[in-house]
Symmetry: D2
Subunit: 136 residues, 4 copies
């Protein structure tokens, strides 16, 4: 699987009163890291979604193990990759690396949804398209 790297410098605004990164922020960065994977493959969501009738890549499950903190001015890196393709979902893993150590192990399970007027919700999950598996 291709691995993608997102370097980040921890800013004042990322930290909480305990002077470490506030944990929900990592999930926001996982979302950013996943979006960056698509950007790096020239599949910007603002273009790629409408041109493939995709309504979104919603999260069905997210989790993270926190083994150590990040502090202001730390230079971290988020290493991200698609770890598994299932029928209608795919798993993106995110390792947060700080000073050479993996300090957070994260995981998102995402679906691919399209607009669907036959569904009362207006959307449906579709089998993961082959072109996604090839690209990522």
């Amino acid at each position: 699987m291709k691995k993608f790297r997102l370097p980040l410098k921890i800013m004042f605004s990322d930290c909480d009163p305990a002077q470490i990164v506030f944990y929900p922020k990592y999930f926001q960065w996982f979302d950013v890291a996943t979006q960056r994977m698509f950007n790096e493959l020239d599949m910007e969501w603002s273009v790629f979604w409408p041109s493939n009738d995709i309504a979104g890549l919603p999260i069905v499950d997210a989790s993270a193990k926190f083994m150590g903190p990040s502090r202001m001015d730390d230079e971290i890196e988020i290493e991200s990759w698609v770890d598994e393709w299932r029928d209608k979902t795919f798993i993106v893993r995110h390792n947060v690396i700080n000073k050479g150590k993996v300090i957070v192990e994260g995981q998102e399970i995402r679906a691919v949804i399209v607009k669907d007027d036959t569904n009362p919700k207006g959307i449906s999950a579709i089998p993961i398209p082959d072109y996604l598996k090839e690209k990522l």
Copy 2:
């Protein structure tokens, strides 16, 4: 176990371009819901932490299953409770209820840490104090 309820009205600022709550926001609310549990028991962190030499209740693991969305103006409720006491961690569960259905099942595993000059990190995790188990 005592159950705690946090009612929330979904605001414009909680939602993403897909016009549903942005998923990391739920983790922020889990943090808020956990803090509210302490508030309701008259254990406000700003008082309770220093008076018990506690440096914080850091997250060691967080996860959530997302079964349905919340939209602007929905009135949701987060039902929270301590589900399990382990030696040095405790598990807080959070059910997000929207229109009578559980749409998100979340879980935080937290430790209790105190300042400790004998530890190179300056802090140590301690066994869960009995008074916490009794109160919660």
Copy 3:
């Protein structure tokens, strides 16, 4: 002018490493406070906007003076009111009150926009509708 009050308890997640509320958070609360004004008048944006062909109430100017901090567990109140109706904009003022003192004075200038296919941007600002002036 009608005044509206939004009570808030400052949470851990609202504060920055200096252990006070991070200043952009006040602007987020101003947005929430403005939306609440409409909610209290039974003009929930999710209903009121589409039923009046409104595409949004965008900010054209926002400002705040910060005279004092808020800390975790403080119980603050945001007092909000429409201070002035101009031709195509209106001014919402927000006073943040902590322990009896106004600690932040904020102001938003907002427009009312509707969808407009004759405009290359797809939207147009309209004169403030009279029903808004009467209600607020």
Copy 4:
């Protein structure tokens, strides 16, 4: 005055249900842009603050004029500079540039505070140190 540039790519997580950047986010970026100015001059806050007894650079006033939106995948740039040194405050200006146009004009007024046990608040604002004026 030295000008500093912070390039940003607008992500999904930056945008609101109107599919444009949520306005308080710009204020968060102003804070980041100000911090970056110090980073670029090798005055990282985590080192520079304690070594100069500085407790922080709090905001006393913040404002912005919004002339146009930013959307997902836009590549914007924040141009920042110290525009004026006053006795005990300094003014940082931030221009947000999108597709060659200034779409947001922002301004922060900040003070420099140090710990001060003789003050009941525990801190005092000091005259802007000369080394700051020279560096910035």
